[in-house]
Homo-oligomer: 388 residues x 2
């Protein structure tokens, strides 16, 4: 099924990693600009780039600029050959696997999804295999250039060893998913928390490129956050970071499933919204879609549930801005399907609680197509090629 060849990584010396990362994330860059940016000599840049060119990952564009008046040699920018290698990215939910094939620049060339009933690890891995077959059926590129698979799922993941410590939706505990998937597919596998994977995609290939710090907030069943600070993803000394859903915003608020009180998720998570809407309407079987419809139809008490949820999310986003001061904050997630119901409340609350100049941090609010999660998984796989 898979070509099954591990290319290993070419990124031995730090200079090669730095050169390739810069060219990959920021587009064509001249050697002169690389040397200046990375604090390397021109000779060191040339030495670092040579094996990357030989292996076909980088190529030289035609000279387009001179490095300055009096500088004799024209500067030939280095660029990435995006189709030198392709990557599978798969997001695993409670009942679905969603996959993409991406090139080195994380552009999507094919996508597919499959449902499953059985959350057993082997059954899910078999489904991932079938998903890969589906992807290759429509992938127009060279499938022998696929050597890596990125997996992403919600929960407590040890990316370093590919271990799923705990997945609440799949009821997995201490599953060595990276090793099992590698055995199953013959590919080099990465496993990452889905929010962190999305953040990686934004950091290298999206709105986070070039930002020393930024935050991605996802709103839905869970409320999560990926953080880049001082140029790197924040992973947390004890494996916990970005748990924005468990900030207290209402000391007298409801108990949360985490054991805390008044957490953002206990007010603004999808389950919390449904529970409050059921309570306000006296309809114990109300769904989230019905709650949204009622609120849109003008049901005041259900509207108030979304107002409160938006306020809680805005406070939490302001907490991120006040503590770490990101350059920008992207807000996304399946919960944003009902964004019209709380967007103004998120912004009002953010603006009230952001301290001084922190309120200048722009919020980008946008929908999250299903491939985005899978693309995040692929982005982590790309990173693992470049920075082992």
């Amino acid at each position: 099924m898979f070509p099954g060849i591990d290319t290993g990584t070419f990124a031995g010396p730090p200079a090669a990693t730095a050169v390739f990362t810069t060219v990959l994330t920021e587009g064509p860059v001249s050697r002169v600009a690389l040397a200046r940016r990375l604090g390397l000599s021109s000779a060191a840049v040339t030495k670092a780039a040579r094996p990357l060119i030989d292996l076909g990952y980088l190529h030289e564009l035609a000279a387009t600029e001179r490095s300055g008046p009096g500088a004799g040699r024209p500067a030939s920018p280095l660029a990435v050959r995006a189709e030198r290698e392709f990557f599978l990215g798969v997001k695993i939910t409670a009942d679905e696997v969603i996959g993409v094939v991406c090139d080195l620049r994380a552009q999507v060339h094919a996508s597919a999804r499959r449902s499953f009933d059985d959350p057993d690890v082997d059954a899910v891995l078999a489904e991932v295999g079938r998903l890969a077959d589906d992807l290759f059926d429509t992938f127009p590129g060279d499938r022998t250039r696929v050597h890596r698979l990125g997996l992403a799922l919600s929960g407590d993941i040890d990316r370093g060893i590919g271990l799923v410590r705990y997945s609440p939706f799949l009821h997995w505990r201490d599953v060595p998913l990276g090793r099992l998937a590698a055995q199953h597919t013959g590919l080099t596998v990465t496993v990452e928390n889905d929010v962190k994977a999305l953040t990686a995609a934004e950091h290298w290939f999206g709105e986070g490129v070039g930002a020393e710090s930024f935050a991605l907030v996802t709103v839905g069943t869970g409320i999560g956050c990926g953080l880049v600070v001082n140029g790197r993803l924040v992973s947390g000394s004890y494996g916990v970071a970005g748990e924005i859903g468990h900030l207290t915003v209402d000391a007298t608020g409801p108990d949360c499933h985490c054991g805390g009180r008044g957490c953002v998720e206990s007010i603004a998570g999808t389950d919390a919204i449904v529970a409050q809407a059921r309570d306000r309407t006296g309809r114990p079987d109300l769904t989230i879609d019905e709650a949204v419809a009622l609120a849109r139809g003008g049901h005041e008490q259900v509207r108030a549930v979304f107002t409160r949820a938006g306020g809680a999310i805005g406070c939490a986003i302001a907490a991120v801005a006040n503590l770490v001061g990101p350059t920008r904050i992207v807000v996304s997630g399946e919960g944003l399907a009902a964004y019209d119901l709380f967007d103004s409340h998120i912004r009002t609350s953010f603006e009230r609680q952001a301290f001084g100049a922190a309120a200048r941090c722009p919020l980008s609010i946008r929908p999250l197509p299903f491939e985005e999660w899978a693309r995040g998984a692929a982005a982590v796989s790309i990173q693992s090629l470049v920075v082992p």
Copy 2:
């Protein structure tokens, strides 16, 4: 008054900065260990160290170890000559200047303080000059080796250009304090926010050494936080970071002076505690000391004020742990004089709100002698020598 000679900085090439920083913050290190740690060749370490040795900042200890079986040459650790240079550090409050003389390793060799009435910039700078004279009167070292002065004060500071954008206690706005102090003293001056300066001292010379991330929380009139994440101080893209005092912890709580609602500072800042205690006792002139005495004496309603304050601080510290996952959190500040009244409430609230493994983050609670703030100012000055 001052020797008035600027040594400039020796730290040109990044390798020299890296070598000196590592030896300075982590104590004697062999060239072999330095090369391994910094990803440099042995030759590069030797080349980087030579000018530092020539200038007297580093010296070679006697060989104490061999670099491994079969490795012929003994490893001579490099160490810092702490007394090669001394630094003045001064913290400016609303009515006092507090100063120290530190060596290169931020060890305090003299300390002094002076009160003042007039918060005019020139008057305060004159007081800083008199404080320096006092310090030199008791400083046993070589005062010709003092070339740098670090200033620290609360408020919105642009460290890069030495500008006090806003100091609420001194009522200063847009004061170019660095430039004025340099003219006044002939020294090379740094200016930094006091909480960030304390954090710098902890990061380089205290509990933060070697930690990829840690947090310092100060409790008092204001409630602040300095954060180190991914090895560097977090400064905030818009100049705002660590504003833990303005996290919302009670959506229905009191209005805060910042314009927000239910902020930590509006519940647990010294002024908020006094206001609540006055309200509960009906004594409009109650002081913080009297409130502490009443609570210690068992006054239930005043005790409840401290209980609520401790709960709010604990929630805020948990927010830091949940978002950025520091290796450890140091809690300090003048508010901790009454620590016995809310310590258990801080811990209970932290443990309840810290998400999963984030609760493993140790809290170090300790008093803050007045020199510590001034030492923080000196630490920033030391950093400016090493990393311009």
